[in-house]
């Protein structure tokens, strides 16, 4: 009798778990889904496209780091980073170390967003209508192009600096990553190849995207693609193309034939609503959306005196404005030795205005001026549109310097400095007073140390 018990006990003890073991160990996550189950339907792919927007909404991209670091690196003593974060401090001093954390995360985040777009573009066949397919493809290409354009400007020599066909740009990855293997170690494509890819993506995007974005005006549309294209052409010195692209945005109309965009009546209102939130205005061609629950406005974090207040605006900058300039009202101007701050980003959860109509006027003005054309309007008319909005007297005649100065003030702290310094061949000073010409290696980010460490195919930039 007892033997039976032992045998039973042993059988139950050892045999029982074995029979059902595999099911016990087969535990699936509930907070995420299997990759092969994620992109099956049309709405799956549309959701993945939304994820691309979140990728560029991140702090490390258009949530603020890209604009802020471009402005700090291109700064010539007009804005000083005084915070305790070491990476922006290095960038502001133009003494960047290879292990600079911001340099690293801007790179990895951009490629993360690019991989998101590549996943969308590889699954366009899942979309259930041709219209959806065109829209989704266009928007994904727009985002991919934007990231490559930022990468090539931050991490490589300027278009006009030497030979773009042989200057190393950044690696072009245009297919989704399914696994890590030897092919994951990619080499840098040339600057010219990156620009070509950016222009190809944006050109396709402009034709495929809708005139209005799918959900109100929070997603990019064909005007956003044209606007981004105008930036690319301007950076390349293709002034007629830039003016033409900008003109397409300015002249875009709604379904009722009214102009699609118009300048906000008040410059200050364009940036500060007096509340935590700042909605899109009619002037906004593409803005990064923020809310209390979504996004993090790093420009608010670093610039706003209500927040870290890590960037002091120097008198050198403030003195550039004419006294009547309404744009001065977006500064907290320190008196009696107090520091001055920009109030452009005082709305804590404010949308970040990435492409505004004002930029298009300035780009068309500059493009026309330098190309000797008057596509859409004369440079003088465009420039005066910008000036009269901020209570400045219209000019009677216009020079290139007028246009560039207006551009600098109108678009101050919106991420344009580094690109403009380079294409206009300006020079800047480091804190020690050393003059750095527009093509100084110190005005180019290093390829991040972590990236070089894991990918020997990447070559480091000069000076690092």
């Amino acid at each position: 009798m007892k033997k039976i018990v032992y045998v039973l006990a042993t059988a139950l003890l050892l045999g029982g778990p074995l029979a059902s073991c595999d099911s016990k160990l087969d535990i699936k996550p509930v907070d995420s889904v299997a990759a092969d189950q994620a992109l099956l339907t049309s709405s799956d792919v549309e959701a993945a496209l939304v994820g691309c927007y979140t990728g560029i909404q991140n702090a490390e991209a258009y949530g603020g780091y890209i604009q802020l670091m471009s402005d700090l690196l291109g700064d010539d003593g007009e804005a000083t980073f005084v915070g305790t974060f070491i990476p922006p401090n290095q960038i502001n001093r133009k003494s960047i170390l290879k292990d600079n954390g911001f340099v690293s995360v801007i790179w990895t985040n951009a490629y993360n967003a690019i991989n998101r777009t590549n996943n969308v573009l590889a699954n366009l066949d899942k979309l259930d209508t041709p219209a959806k397919k065109a829209r989704v493809e266009g928007e994904a290409r727009f985002i991919r192009a934007a990231m490559y354009f930022e990468l090539v400007r931050l991490y490589a020599r300027d278009w006009a600096d030497g030979t773009p066909g042989s200057n190393p740009g950044v690696p072009l990855v245009l297919t989704p990553t399914k696994m890590i293997d030897a092919s994951s170690q990619v080499a840098r494509n040339s600057v010219a190849e990156v620009y070509a890819s950016v222009i190809s993506d944006l050109t396709t995007a402009e034709t495929k995207m809708l005139a209005t974005s799918a959900a109100g005006n929070i997603f990019a549309n064909n005007s956003a693609a044209a606007a981004m294209l105008s930036r690319v052409y301007l950076q390349q010195g293709r002034f007629a193309d830039a003016a033409a692209a900008a003109n397409r945005v300015i002249t875009a109309v709604t379904s009722t034939g009214a102009p699609r965009y118009s300048l906000n009546a008040s410059y200050v209102d364009e940036f500060f609503s007096g509340a935590d939130l700042l909605p899109n205005s009619n002037e906004d061609i593409f803005a990064i959306q923020n809310s209390a629950q979504s996004g993090s406005n790093q420009l608010n974090t670093f610039y706003s005196p209500d927040q870290r207040g890590d960037i002091f605006i120097e008198d050198k900058h403030l003195s550039l404005y004419e006294p009547a300039d309404d744009r001065l009202n977006l500064f907290t101007i320190g008196t009696g030795g107090q520091q001055s701050y920009s109030d452009k980003y005082d709305s804590q959860y404010g949308n970040i205005k990435l492409i505004r109509l004002a930029e298009m006027y300035l780009t068309r003005a500059e493009g026309n001026f330098r190309a000797g054309t008057a596509v859409g309007a004369t440079p003088l008319a465009d420039l005066n549109r910008i000036r009269t909005r901020v209570n400045l007297a219209p000019l009677a005649a216009v020079t290139l310097a007028d246009i560039l100065k207006e551009r600098k003030l109108e678009l101050a702290f919106e991420g344009f400095r580094l690109g403009d310094v380079k294409r206009n061949r300006e020079s800047v000073h480091d804190p020690a007073g050393v003059v750095l010409p527009w093509n100084s290696p110190r005005l180019i980010f290093p390829i991040p140390l972590r990236e070089i460490s894991v990918n020997p195919k990447l070559t480091q930039n000069a000076g690092y």
Binding site: K24, V33, N112, M179, I218, G336, G337, L449, P456
Partner: protein, 1042 residues
Amino acid sequence: MHHKLFTHLRLFLLLAACLYSASVGAQSRAISGRVLGFDGGALPGATVLERGTTNGVSTNADGAFSLNVQPDASLVISSVGYTAQTVAVGSQSVINVTLAAAATELNEAIVVGYGTQTKADVTGSIVTLTNKDITNAPVQTFEQAIQGKAAGVVIENSSGKLGQAIKVRVRGTSSVSGDTQPLYVIDGIPVQTDNFSSTSAPTNPIADINPNDIENVTVLKDAAAAAIYGSRGTNGVVLITTKRGKAGATRFNIGYQTGTSKATHLREFLNGKEYVELFTEALKNSGRSDASNATRFRGYAAGVTVDANYSVDTNWQDQVFHKGSFSQYDLNASGGNEKTKFFISGQYSTQEGILVGNKLQRIASRFNVDHQATDKLTLGANVSLSRTQNNRLPNDNAFSNPVQIVALAPITPLIDPRTGLTSGAFDPATGNPNTNFPFYYNPLLGIQNNAATYVTYNYRALGNVYGQYEFLPGLSLRSEIGLDLLNQDEDQYLARVTSRNSNPTNGYGFSAHTTSGRFTTNNYFSYRKTLADVHTIEATLGTAYEQRRSTGTSVTGTQFPSDAYRTIVNAATFTAGTSNSTSNALLSYFARVNYGYANKYLLGLSARIDGSSRFGSNQRYGFFPAASLGWIVTEEAFLKEQKILSFLKPRVSIGRTGNQGFPDFASLGLFSGTSGYVGVPGQRPLQLPNPDLKWESTTQSDAGIEFGLFNNRISGEVDVYLKRTTDLALNAPVPGTSGFVTQFQNVGNLENKGVEFALTTRNFVGDFTWSTTVNASRNLNKVTFLQGQPVLGSFLSRAQEGFPLGTFFGAEYAGVDPANGNALYYRNKASGDGTNTGFIDHGAGTTTVVDSAQLVPVGDPNPRWTLGLTNTITYKGFDLSATLTGVFGNKIFDGGAQFYSVAFNNGPDNQTRDQLNRWRKPGDITDVPKANYLSGNGTANSSRFVRDGSYGRLRTVTLGYNLPAGLVKKGYLQSVRVYAQALNLLTFTNYKGWDPEVNADYLASSGTLGSVTATQGNINQGIDFYSAPQPRTITFGVNVGF
């Protein structure tokens, strides 16, 4: 009846099995007696057991006992610290016994995982600590009490904040990305030690355990001992046994202790005059005008001109450090009869930290019961319920971290004369807290009036029940079910006054709730048999199944009507909310056979098969075998005649253990739906698949020798070991161009090898006793293979092939150019091996550009030697015990030095006093560069901030007095002990920081919630970043037994 067996679940097997039990029936007779210690005193609490049965009692306060035994019985009489003695009853009815002192507890049964073994028979490397080492230490967790007491077990606090994670390393760090803490098993049930903190500073769930409930702790160190725990054995296993009742009169014990604590050491900073002097020099050197400098200082000084008459000299550090307190109340009762024994305890412990606002309170209870249902069936339960309340402080890297107050200028007044409030509290211009005065957030704003609070409540239920059925003499089945349930509430509120560096949100609230439950069942057969008097066999065969599910939710809110409302329900805006859930399961089969021949030759074999839900689909089951041999030489005839050597046992072992301490779903390719964009749903790729992901595999060999000399007056143990870990489950960096940053891959190898010594000597015995225990360990850690790719931690820390984990790689500081005061760095030579590092070669000259200097190894945070020395002296009723600990040869990276030890080259932060030695004029020889405000001169993280972290510490001293028994008896008491003790009384170190026992909390994440990855958390060692020093605690206590 029989059919019930078929229908019941196997967990009820035991209940069914009891039906077969036979009743006891034989004639017995009563005996009585008294047990005395070697010193002639009565020995209360000694166990008197009828040999071969579970029939036994404990002696009472007079050492007396009485018991009914079978005819021809033998009594086994034992007590901790004494040599057990066996006495044949024969015809005696009164038996008086005097027990001899045991040098090593060779005959004591020790827990070895799924069973017990006598120390003499153990062929693996283990170390056992008893409640004497743990009870009543003025600390929060038992780990802190055993610091320095076990060879090969290195225990380190991250800082002096209470309830924070504690680093425990058994024979070195064996993982880069995985768990590196040992497995903790309480009364047979593995418990959760994961960090559940919602901040980036990890906490320690072991703080929920009352150290005074612990009877003993066994640490399994080598593979022979730990392989029975399979895929979780690599980091060692800590087996905790809680106190159990003994038959006899119910004994009560009441304890109370109280005391105070203060910081072991504070760092020295510039006073007001020095600050102005050095800062002025730095400002002038940077080309700033006298006028702007005067404006600057006036700003710092709350609008008052700083001139020769200016007298404000605020010692900010003194504002946040205070005298902490410790008090603890304990009550326990134990007793029972021959059939049923119990132990119950309750504790209330409260401790205020050395930093204002830091507090830990614990209410703990325990109920342990054992019941002999029949002579075959034993049942029991161990239940512990506790609540731990931790008033936490901000992370080391937060502006609000109280220690960061040292950055403020000493010329800034404590109270702003313009507002009459604490500096920074109010800006009349905006009506909000000041955003640029003082120049950083003033941590006092959060501390004062409880403006910033972060309170964690842990409710912990640990319970298990067991049944053990003896089928035949020697063959039994034990079945255990255990549950570890951890509920954690975290509530944070930041009042309006703290809103600097964030928009004024009219209050900020955060609330998180975590539930983590782990269910475990163990079912195993044990078999013991002696054949032909010389062959002893012990065998264990069983299975275990564990399942854990953890869930958490949190919500964040802003816009509170007033600071009187501090809970989220009162928030007008909910800014964030989240939930998470994760699970895992582990299914195991294990077996062990120990064979002994003639008590001389010992062989141990064990194996475990672990199936884990964490492993990739191609690698579901791992196999972990071990083998060991021992030889008790002193049992040989040729050593029987000599008197010198009383015990000698060489032993060797080899085996394999695993580590599965990586995230639950690391092997799967995943998408995440966390990418919604302002209310529009979105998803994104989260993780790439790796179906081959498996456990980290460690093969460990160990050779040891245990010895006793002169009748065990001197005893000790020496071990050498080699732990080779392969298939590291590395969260390996991958090219960011892939869209991913890391992936868990089984790549990489590392090794730990070392030697351990433990020696106990009884220098005097008799009325005056003096014993000395010393242990020393040396572990050499080396990362041997990482595919040539270094893994970077924070600051200079990294994992790189050929170097110990966490080695600091940085530019080598070459001092100051006497000509111009510039910081110089050695260029050194590039190694050219693709790791972007170099080797030291000063022939390449120096540079002022830190990026032109190669990154070379500039320090190893791993200690060369760790030592512990305990002396215990007793004389009559007095006892004195002191433990010295030592950690030698490790380096510390002073992460805050770039701010406070750079002569204002990096900002206005107050500076350490050594910066007064800055270079001033050509020809000055110093290692502090020229002061040049914001110039970055010498501020780069380099070997300049690598310090020697060696220290020796008088860790504990205890002086106690046991009142004479005669006096005690007059008060109807059993025992009265009064004592005074000190923790960290003295520290000997060259480290100039706060305390050399340090690892910045926010960089030492042990989970997935931290600001750094688990990988970086393992690599980051010995980093100081405004981390709180250890407390020096002095307490007085009394224990009364009745």
